[in-house]
Each structure stands twice: as structure tokens, then as C-alpha cells.
Symmetry: C2
Subunit: 190 residues, 2 copies
């Protein structure tokens, strides 16, 4: 196994382990065991567990298919719904586990690690800004109440999504996610 592919295997294993177990419950040996590499090799590729968590956040963000939000030729609110519908599958179709890595690291680590807090904040900022743009487009198209503050509403919808994932994991049912879709798309964004 070459050096580059070993780094790739460790990075991907770190992403999966942090997402499944959480940050503090994941040891370096959980990552190297999952990657099928000797424990010592972790530090040939990452300076610290923190650094591998930052890389995990980048990988998670890349998996969120933000391009769905800007897809041409589809009404803005349909794109937003398709985006959350896509995201819901990771939690709902997998037995209501894992949730969102950005929110998980926000809840568990942001208070205690400035670098991870900034990465979580940047992740939320980027995501909320994309949602805001969709809402502005919907307002411009006459599909959404022009009196809504698109920025505050985007921030709120993203918070509601993060909370719904936590509640759905605790409930082991889709009820909180269903309440999200119903309230956001049938009541709030009208």
C-alpha cells in the first residue's frame, strides 16, 4: 500500500469512526484498526486526532451534495426539499444513528477545542448561506413570502434540521424528521 493510499484509508476510517462513535469515544487505535494499518502509522499522516477530525469535517461536507441546492432548472424550494430528503436517508435509512457530523462535533467538542469550533462554525456558515440563497431565489420567483428574513430563516432551518437529527436518534423513529419536513415545507416556507 503506497503512502498516499494509506493516508486516504486512515482519513476515511477517521471520518467513519468519528461519525459513528463521536470524537472523544474514538481512539487512534479505533481509526487504525478500521483502516487496517499499524497504530503507529497514524502519526505519519496526521499530526493529531484533532487534525484528522478537521479532515473528517471536510470529507463530511463534501458528502452533503451541496450542489443539489444550486442545480439549474428546478424550483428553489424543490431543491431545498430534495437536499434535506437526501440528507435524511443517512440517518433514517440506517436505523436512526450517526446524525450530522458537523452538529455532533458542535455539541461535543466546540466548547473545548477552538480549531474544531471554527471548522464547525465555517461548516454551518457555508451551509446556511447556501440555504439563504435558495430562499432569496424562491422569493424572487414569487414562491416564498417576500417578508421573510432569508438569512434568519436559513439559520433557523439549519438549526431545526440539526435538532431533528438528534431527536430522531433518541426517538429511534422518523417522527422528528417528519415534523421537520411538514413544518418547514408546509407551514414556514409558504
Amino acid at each position: 500500500m503506497g503512502r498516499a493510499s494509506k493516508r486516504e484509508d486512515i482519513a476515511q476510517a477517521a471520518f467513519q469512526q468519528f461519525h459513528a462513535r463521536g470524537f472523544n469515544a474514538t481512539g487512534i487505535s479505533d481509526i487504525t484498526t478500521a483502516a487496517g494499518v499499524p497504530k503507529g502509522s497514524f502519526y505519519n499522516h496526521f499530526a493529531s486526532k484533532d487534525e484528522s477530525a478537521l479532515e473528517a469535517l471536510r470529507r463530511y461536507a463534501a458528502s452533503l451534495r451541496f450542489e443539489m441546492l444550486t442545480e439549474e432548472g428546478r424550483p428553489p424550494l424543490d431543491r431545498l426539499r430534495a437536499h434535506f430528503d437526501f440528507l435524511s436517508r443517512d440517518t433514517v435509512d440506517n436505523g436512526f444513528v450517526r446524525g450530522c457530523l458537523v452538529g455532533n462535533l458542535g455539541a461535543e467538542v466546540a466548547d473545548h477545542n477552538e480549531e474544531i469550533r471554527r471548522a464547525v462554525k465555517d461548516g454551518f456558515d457555508r451551509w446556511a448561506d447556501l440555504i439563504r440563497q435558495v430562499l432569496v431565489e424562491a422569493q424572487d420567483a414569487g414562491d416564498l413570502n417576500p417578508g421573510l428574513d432569508a438569512g434568519a430563516t436559513a439559520l433557523f432551518v439549519l438549526s431545526a434540521w440539526e435538532g431533528a437529527l438528534i431527536a430522531t436518534r433518541a426517538d429511534k423513529s422518523a417522527a422528528p424528521v417528519d415534523a421537520f419536513f411538514r413544518t418547514v415545507f408546509e407551514v414556514l416556507l409558504r
Copy 2:
């Protein structure tokens, strides 16, 4: 120090440590050091760290002042707003840290510990049901759109609150909490 007061000190320290540090980052010695008792004495009072986390959840729930939601002689939606306003102070006035212990344990532990998952679920269920009752009262009083599904809306508002606390900790600003108040009370619950 008597046996009962030692248990009380340990239980209170466990609550504060879990809230401040998270579940996996809190060791038994963090709890006993904070309580000012010898490490070994923890197990005279609690069978396990899990058991002390369940007690912490009970203490946290008791601190949420749910009675504000059922207070007589105040309009239902004013009570709901005062409830979240009270809750926001713990995070916002303390430098945007800690968040909600129910949500934190939901994000960090619910996937991995069935007993804690059930306690988190019970906490959310009880809380959402109190919010649902406030919304029904508001509908009966003609203060809220009678077409809203009170149960789904309550679940949604609670999710949005949990997510707003995570986002506000990551952002180190009140913006996500402000977006919660603005969207819930000026747009959704009209």
C-alpha cells in the same frame, strides 16, 4: 460530611461536569475532584458513570422550570416565549457554552447506550408534550392558527431549539438563538 450530603455533592458535581465537558470527556475523577471527595467514594453512591448521567438528566430536567409553561393567568404563547427566554440565558449569558444536557447526551451517547437513549427520549417526549399543550391552549384561545398540527409543531420547535443551541455555541454569538425567537414567534406561531 454525612452519607446523604456526600451523595448530593457527587450527583451535583456529575451534573455540572457532564454539562460542561460532555459524557465521554468526563472521568469519574473529574466528578469526585469537583465534589471534593475521594475518587473511591463515587462507587459508594452510584453503580456506574451511566447511573450518574441518568441522575444528571433528572437534575437538568428539574432545572428547566417547566412550570413556566403551565403558569396560570398568562397568555400561552407568552409563557412559551418566557420559557425559551429563560433557557437561552444559561447558554447565551455564560459565553455560549454547555447548551442543553438532553440534546448533548442525545448527540453524543444515544446511539451507544440504550438506557441513556431512553432517558433522552423521555426528556424530549415530556418537553414536547408540554409545548404541544401550550400550542393547543393558544389555538383554543384564538391566538394561533388552528390549522397547525400542534404535536408536529411542538416536536419541531423543540428540535429547532436544540439545534439553535449547538449553532450558537459554534458561532459564539446569539445569532442562531435570535433567529429561533424571530422565526418561531414572529413567523411560525402566528
